[in-house]
């Protein structure tokens, strides 16, 4: 059994080394704030980089991160064309609250509801906030867990590296 698992593990790793061309977006459908379905694998930003960040209403650092991103967002869009997609992992207790919460805070991002953490699981997100930077082809080029004050600037440095 153990040997078998080890074999499986190596197998996975071997295949992993060969993973090159595929977009890192899983084939999962979530809803947006209007209740419309969005297939994650079809997300793109017209060839420009985009950010996907996982958060929850009960997560203080996540709310801080979103507030900080809100302040700089207009500048970032103007300079790099980046787009931020914000994925709430709140469960059904908060589904109805997300839209008023987001609007009340004035966050300008595209919000998706990952009510049963399907996307979070597929993207190996354990604890929010967890932020991914994708290049124009949908490949993950950088990711970061947690938010410390000023952390948005480090994200921006990464965006600038890949923005054309």
């Amino acid at each position: 059994m153990k040997k078998f698992l080890a074999f499986l593990l190596f197998g996975f790793m071997f295949f992993g080394l060969n993973a090159q061309n595929k977009s890192d977006l899983p084939n999962i459908t979530l809803k947006n704030l209007d209740g419309q379905s969005v297939n994650i694998s079809e997300i793109n930003n017209g060839g420009k980089p985009f950010v996907m960040t996982f958060w929850a209403t009960w997560c203080g650092p996540c709310v801080k991160e979103h507030n900080a991103l809100t302040e700089v967002y207009d500048d970032w869009v103007e300079e790099t064309g980046v787009k931020i997609i914000s994925v709430s992992i709140d469960d059904a207790r908060s589904t109805a609250k997300i839209k008023p919460f987001v609007d009340g805070k004035g966050w300008p991002f595209e919000i998706l509801l990952d009510v049963n953490k399907d996307l979070a699981r597929a993207m190996n997100v354990s604890n929010p906030p967890h932020t991914f930077l994708f290049d124009g082809k949908g490949k993950i080029v950088w990711q970061h867990t947690g938010y410390l004050d000023g952390g948005e600037e480090d994200l921006y440095e990464e965006i600038i590296k890949i923005a054309k």
Binding site: L8, Q20, D24, N67, A96, K97, K99, P100, V102, T145
Partner: protein, 577 residues
Amino acid sequence: MKKSLLILAVILCATTLYGQDFLNKSKVSGSFQLDGNYYWEDNGIGITEDKINGEKFGAYGFGKLQYQLGDFSAGMRFEAYQTTPMSGFDARVKGMGVANFFATYDNGTIGVTVGDIYDQFGNGLIFRTYEEWTLGFDNSLRGIRAVFRPCNGVTLKGIYGKQRYYWVSYEEERGLVRGVDGEWDINNSIEALNDAKLKATLGASFVSKYESEPTMEYNGNIYQLPQNVGAYAGRMNLGYGRFGLSAEYARKINDPSFFNNWIYRDGQELLASLSYSQKGLGVVLQAKRVDNMSFKSMRTARQNDLDIGFIPPINYTHTHSLPSMFAYATQPLGEMGVQFQVNYTIPKKTALGGKYGTKLAFNYSQVNDIKRDSIMVDGVNTLNMMGTKGYTSPFFAIGDKMFYRDFNFEIEKKISAKWHLTLMYINLYYDMETIEGHPGAEAVKAHFAFGEAIYKINRKHSVRLELQHMWDNVGKNQEVDPLYEEYYVKRGNWMAFLLEYTIAPKWFVSVADKYNYGNPIADNRDHYFTGSVGYIKDQTRIALSGGRQSQGLVCVGGVCREVPASSGVSITITTSF
């Protein structure tokens, strides 16, 4: 188990042998987490050698691997829980093995998953399987799921299987769970309505559990039990411009169980919300009613074991360390609640908004019991009596007993490029008797004040200071009946502080103390002092902390997780690839 892994491996090999092109398209990812604790004796907070029982070291870890190739994906999760009495986990989570594996094929129209399934129907009222690592909770369904999307906007789902019950073999006795769900997103499915202002989604689901035993004997009486228990739910979600209305209603046929004291009453639940929002303002009103809705795949299951349905609490979730000690737990046997929340941002460059704007939030939540009227049978009051219909309950009548009430107000303001302030007031009513199951315990009627200041030294360096105070209705001089001393562990006034220094995006270090200075029992007037240090590199995070930890949701260094009470040192490592 071995068989299923073999199947998984065969599928993997088959697909990879198919060609080099496939190899290039395959993708492997995964994640890993390890929590290690070393506990020591701390008589000050009642942690004696007996309680530790020689098990000073606790470790909990999981490793997850996922494989994706086009429309095919597969994965597994290995878990190891070396729990100790101090860890706060249910003793049954102890063990290790591959707790979860799955293989999915989904081409957009048809999807099939075999293995351990996480999913939910609607809000999850009659079906939700999920996993919460920090709680040791996992009610995944081992079986099969099929999803069919015949046309735009229509999704049909079917599930069939048995739920995870800690490490108990799936061969052992427990119910079968079967269910179907349909959802119709009207705007998406009818082209002429694609851009209509009114957005509507309708859904319906049916779930049934089957248990083979048709009778139960208790005290010489034979009780006939339903082998099949059906539950159904209907839901709608409407949006019209700035307004939103959503509701879900569920009903379950009689389902006598240990949890409801073996009464033969149908269960029902309603969850509804109305919202209004525009840029800078969001208002939401929610209501719910739960009546006898514990739905488990084994009649004798206790606590949170083998839940098929999920009853969402609707109250505000507190994250600050003092109020989070008094978190509400839903009462599946019956509760009625409302929740009202307003979020408002005073715009930038106005007198009150200042240069950066000011964020305000107000929240009111209240949860009461439902009203239960007795049923008289041959002159006998059968209220909640085993083997009877239990009670009747008028739908709109609110029970006298209040379980929980919270109103809070928060103001958050960036003062300048350097300073950021948050202030919060919380008024809480917490019925300890019901929520913690302490018969006769005095309810908590407390006020909390919270203040946080962040000073940004420069681009990377910041200092954060958090101060909290709790005023409890139980005073320092209140006499406590020695029989009920355990009810007073966290009562009386508290004060707390947290000082954190962060160097973005990698380092954080903090010291914190919670001091129960107003506890009526002198021995309980304890400090809970902790120190933490952590390092984050991309998606890897290592945190080390030491001191006394009381139970609650703890957020340090940018991440929140729920931790049990302890005294000692702990390390947490998380990463993904």
